[in-house]
Amino acid sequence: MRMKTLLGTAALTLLMSASGALAQSAIRIGHLADYSGGTSDVGTPYGQAVADTFAWINKNGGINGTKVDIETVDYGYQVPRAVAQYKKWTGSNKVAAIMGWGTADTEALTGFVAQDKIPFFSASYAAQLTDPTGAGGKAKAAPYNFFYGPSYSDALRAELTWAAEDWKAKGKSGKPKFVHMGANHPYPNAPKEAGEQLAKELGFDVLPPLVFALSPGDYSAQCLSLKSAGANYAYLGNTAASNISVMKACKTAGVDVQFLSNVWGMDENAAKAAGDAADGVVFPLRTPVAWGASAPGMKIVGEISKISDQSGAAYRPVHYIAGVCSALFMKEALEWAAKNGGVTGENVQKAFYHKANWVPAGMEGVCNPSTWTEKDHRGTMAVDLYRSKVSGATDGDLNDVMKKGTIKLEKVKTVELPRKSEWLGW
């Protein structure tokens, strides 16, 4: 006990002397990333994008001339480390905002950020985080949580809207059957209620949900059940690693079903790993375009990408572009706060409310126009649905596979959901 205290004091003095050397003028923000933990496959491109964007911002004049002092910490998707890091950032030299990552850190810190009034801009899209007042009645107020893109629930609502049209367009008769698939775990279950309710309203026959774990495994049994139940549309709520197992097992079992995936459940890398089993899966993007598409804003994305890839040849997965948009929204919020009373947590929170249909400067066509208000943190209701097209063997480097066009992301539709108040928070 005494030993620990002594060690603590020694380390503390070291720490204080180190932090004292830092320039006071820079704007401090924290960045939690997962490069090594359970979600590192998608955490790496997203985290890299946030880090690159802020490096690019610093290279181009910073926030109104002030540099951003961003500390990127890989917390390995472990809650205790995220909490300790958060406390480090909110101690004596408080950060103005935090760029967070996934469910683990976001949920563990919701209580703290509300107490300490620090905006937490993450990539956890659970709908309960969109309710800043708790008026929706489904969850506790989360006034300091923000994210860019549709919530898990809204993304599923959009997919179902598309599915209902698709069913009609294909000229099929009868009621289409919808099934929710995922682990019995809060993350896949987050949009379950929303999805099943809308599916009923849209005239789907909602089948009992099928459960499969969050890790790779043999899910032939689930696929056979899917086949025997005759489902037409199945939502995959898990992350890529286990979704791949399901898609492959279902292909083997010869299941004829249209998969709708969660935003983290499908991307270029997942399509590559699943090969032809991933052909035709519909999934939401948070941006209207993917890498390689032409849009006015892609110029800046290209510049940002060069920060960590001088050659400019690397292919960036969809999560990278979403990360760039998230970081640029934060940048402009910091700018507004700096001009309107200084960069503090509360001002940064207000900054997110300063503009409707907000697109970061120069990002037209890449970042969807977003509106945050004191009562509604659903930034955007536009959901860009894409379909993965896999034609041929996908082994080899991702760059080559994408260049050859073996994997293609094909735009399906942009669904503009109505901003219904009864959909807030779930």
Binding site: Y35, S36, G38, S40, D41, G43, T44, N184, P208, P209, L210, V211, F212, A213, S215, P216, G217, D218, S220, A221, Q222, L224, S225, S228, A229, A240, A241, S242, I244, S245, K248, A249, T252, A253, G254, N269, A270, K272, A273, A274, G275, A393, T394, D395, G396, L398
Partner: protein, 297 residues
């Protein structure tokens, strides 16, 4: 009742259960000789999968070459791990050795991500037809391979432990380390051997699951998933491990059948085997084939 579906699920359970059995067998091999619960078993499987993947994709070797190379590599790798990390622990409390395997899994997990990246990768196609039909069920060809290979391995293990000199040495060591030592058996080499064989067996299982699921760090979950199979079979019985694996595979699929057709509770697949397991163990406290500890004071 949907008999067709039930039959398909049971066949699937049998096939997947055999795979569980193979992983369980590699687990038991180490436990039997060294009394160590190896929490890094899943990582050994992962290493095998990545190595075979690298040989096929990076070095463009055909499968019939890369598989034996992987097995040879894992044999050496098993010995190395034992030499570097576990040999210093011989004679120390078992619980500390178990902790070493936990730490080892952290090391291997991070090293694999470092070397091979964080993204899941597809495994090159090995067989011309990806699946074969049996009783109306399409089974991945690689599962059939695993079935054949595991049968061969079980036979090889049976011969090894029954008749070969090293196998007898391992059994003697498992029975009593001190007595074995006094008979001139090198316990150190027996331990190294058990890790080597276990790593090799894991590699085979690793390649099979990698072909089915693609290679990703999540595959290591198989190491923990087979724990119930090991206990059900009896911790120190190799045949029991395989049978335990098959029973767990059947249970999972049967639970999915009951759940999907009648109950609609969801998640019985994952949880139901545990209830059944505890009941079976209440009747047979040393698993189906475990040695009953007879202790004399």
């Amino acid at each position: 009742m949907n008999t067709q579906l039930l039959i398909q699920l049971l066949v699937n359970g049998l096939v997947v259960g055999t795979l569980y059995g193979v992983v369980a067998m590699s687990f038991v091999l180490i436990y039997k000789a060294t009394q160590v619960v190896n929490f890094a078993q899943g990582e050994l499987l992962l290493v095998g999968a990545w190595v075979c993947w690298a040989l096929m994709v990076k070095y463009q070797l055909p499968f019939y070459l890369s598989m034996p190379i992987t097995m040879a590599f894992m044999f050496v790798f098993g010995i190395l791990i034992q030499l570097v990390f576990l040999r210093p622990m011989i004679g120390e409390p078992i619980i500390s050795v178990i902790m070493v395997t936990i730490a080892l899994s952290t090391v291997l997990q991070a090293a694999m991500k470092w070397i091979f990246g964080v993204n899941p990768q597809p495994f090159p196609q090995i067989f011309t037809s990806q699946s074969v039909g049996f009783l109306g069920l399409q089974i991945q060809t690689v599962y059939v391979m695993s079935l054949v290979v595991s049968m061969a391995m079980i036979a090889a293990m049976a011969w090894f432990f029954q008749s070969s000199k090293h196998g007898l040495a391992m059994r003697a060591t498992a029975f009593n380390q001190q007595v074995a030592q006094s008979l001139g058996i090198s316990v150190k080499s027996v331990f190294a051997m058990s890790w080597a064989i276990s790593a090799t067996v894991s590699a085979v299982a690793g390649v099979v699951v990698a072909v089915v699921n693609g290679v990703s760090s999540g595959l290591s979950i198989y190491g923990i998933k087979v724990f119930p199979a090991v206990i059900l079979g009896g911790l120190d019985s190799i045949g029991g491990a395989v049978l335990g694996g098959i029973i767990i595979g059947l249970l999972e699929n049967f639970a999915q059948f009951i759940d999907g057709e009648f109950l609609h509770w969801g998640n019985l697949y994952e949880v139901a085997p545990f209830y059944v397991l505890i009941i079976i163990l209440m009747i047979k406290p040393y698993g189906l084939f475990g040695t009953r500890d007879i202790e004399r004071v």
